[in-house]
């Protein structure tokens, strides 16, 4: 192995996982580079081999087959915002991609795959993907496996394992008749939220018949908030307060960083969660009124 970094541009998934298996931990997969390159520039990351996966066709494109949307790992945030299939079946994902910071420049190059694998607690896409209960198609030398997104969420960043390649994201459409909300609360003019929440809500008349709520950016790990105790109730301020309390309780180890200190983060987690559920319900009412 050379002292200088090396470059590889595999043409297929097989070539890429072969490289990953043959190389030691010094190899990194590069997709859009929007997460890696700042670290390379600052010298905190010094890869021995850059494995550029942009030439692998199997990682591209969005299609809808037998009720499943299959999104290539190289799909950039801008495509998630503008793609008709994503807009129709996964509006929550399209909206959270539009709330990624860094501007069009980052939206034009940052990929869904890089966003997932980075597993950065402040990132925007993961809360929606967990709310949507997506599955991931992951390849390594032994083949391709399909795993629930929830099962690869670990508390270490970069949690896929260094010999694996994320190939596609598989999602079922948001349930028909459901509504959704995504809230990102920023305390500064910077890119990242201090607390994010994604909600998918189903209503039966006025009452909440199902709520799937995920809170991010408030703790190292995403939290799925158990709201079984509000199911069957109509929306009220009291229900809102119950959601806030459930979040405060679930976030037992809040982050404390530039985005805000721990106690405040825990409080904001509750606020964004309540707002996301409220946003979902309001959108349904507006649709009903229209």
């Amino acid at each position: 192995m050379s002292l200088y970094p090396m470059y590889a541009r595999p043409r297929s998934v097989e070539e890429a996982v072969g490289l990953l298996a043959g190389l030691s931990s010094g190899a990194v997969v590069v997709a859009g580079g929007q997460e890696l390159m700042p670290a390379v520039n600052s010298g905190t990351l010094m890869p021995e081999v850059f494995i550029d996966v942009a030439g692998i066709e199997a990682l591209r494109g969005i299609d809808f087959n037998e009720g499943v949307l299959s999104i290539g790992a190289l799909t950039v945030h801008r495509e998630l915002q503008g793609n008709a299939l994503v807009g129709e079946h996964l509006p929550l994902l399209a909206n959270s991609a539009s709330q990624v910071g860094g501007g069009w420049q980052v939206h034009n190059r940052g990929t869904i795959g890089g966003n997932i694998v980075a597993m950065h607690p402040l990132y925007d896409i993961a809360p929606s993907l967990l709310a949507l209960e997506v599955e991931l198609e992951i390849a390594d030398e032994s083949g391709v496996r399909t795993t629930a997104f929830a099962d690869v969420l670990t508390d270490t960043r970069h949690g896929l394992g260094s010999d694996s390649l994320l190939v596609r994201v598989l999602a079922r459409p948001q349930p028909s008749g459901s509504c959704w909300g995504y809230q990102k609360f920023k305390s500064t003019g910077g890119a990242y939220g201090s607390a994010n929440a994604a909600a998918i809500v189903q209503l039966d008349g006025q009452s909440l018949s199902a709520v799937r709520l995920v809170v991010g950016a408030a703790a190292e790990k995403l939290e799925v908030i158990d709201l079984s105790h509000i199911v069957g109730k109509p929306w009220s301020e009291d229900v809102g307060r119950t959601i806030e309390a459930a979040c405060r309780e679930a976030i037992s180890q809040p982050l404390s960083d530039q985005q805000g200190d721990a106690e405040w983060r825990r409080a904001m987690a509750g606020v964004v969660a309540r707002r996301a559920v409220q946003q979902a319900i309001n959108s349904q009412r507006e649709e009903g009124a229209a």
């Binding site: 390159m37 850059f50 069009w104 190059r109």
Partner: protein, 171 residues
């Protein structure tokens, strides 16, 4: 496996209309290649973290921050830098609009802001004020307070599409 590993990459970039064949190191950024290999000093370096947007160029018509773009990952691409916005040696309409409206003071951010404006106005002939904000969200300016920049985007739009009403309120 060894035959897949390279010490450098050969890339073909059409930069502001001119074709360049370049051999780049695996960790070289597009910013460094543009400034140091090709002499495109109009592309500015402000942070190398992806936050300021001064290094913005267009890759195949889409803006990107060249400081966080791996040059090797562009085997063939068309690049537009600020220098590519001129027309026949004169300032192009976007440049002229920023000049006339004082859309820059020190000018450090300008290369990036003008390219973000160029991508916006390429497909949107009637951007709203909110759409302008969205298009410029990845570019920081420490001098102007942004108001003259928004006037300049409006003015550029009027120059490029004189027959259209723009949605941007005049400042």
């Amino acid at each position: 496996m060894e035959d897949l590993l390279h010490m450098s990459a050969l890339i073909q970039l059409r930069i502001d209309g001119e074709l360049h064949e370049l051999e780049v190191l695996p960790n070289a950024t597009l910013l460094d290649v543009l400034r140091d290999e090709v002499g495109k000093k109009g592309t500015h370096m402000g942070c190398r973290t992806g936050h300021c947007g001064a290094c913005t160029v267009m890759i195949d018509g889409k803006v990107a921050k060249s400081c966080i773009t791996l040059a090797a990952s562009l085997p063939r691409a068309t690049i537009t830098t600020i220098e590519g916005l001129q027309q026949d040696g004169e300032m192009g309409p976007i440049q002229q609009a920023f000049w006339d409206e004082a859309g820059l003071q020190c000018g450090y951010c300008a290369p990036g802001i003008l390219l973000s404006t160029a991508e916006l106005l390429a497909d949107n002939h009637q951007p709203s004020a909110a759409e302008v904000d969205q298009a410029l969200a990845g570019n920081l300016c420490r001098c102007t307070g942004y108001q003259s920049i928004k006037r300049a985007v409006h003015s550029a739009c009027v120059r490029m599409y004189p027959d259209q009403e723009t949605g941007i309120e005049e400042g």
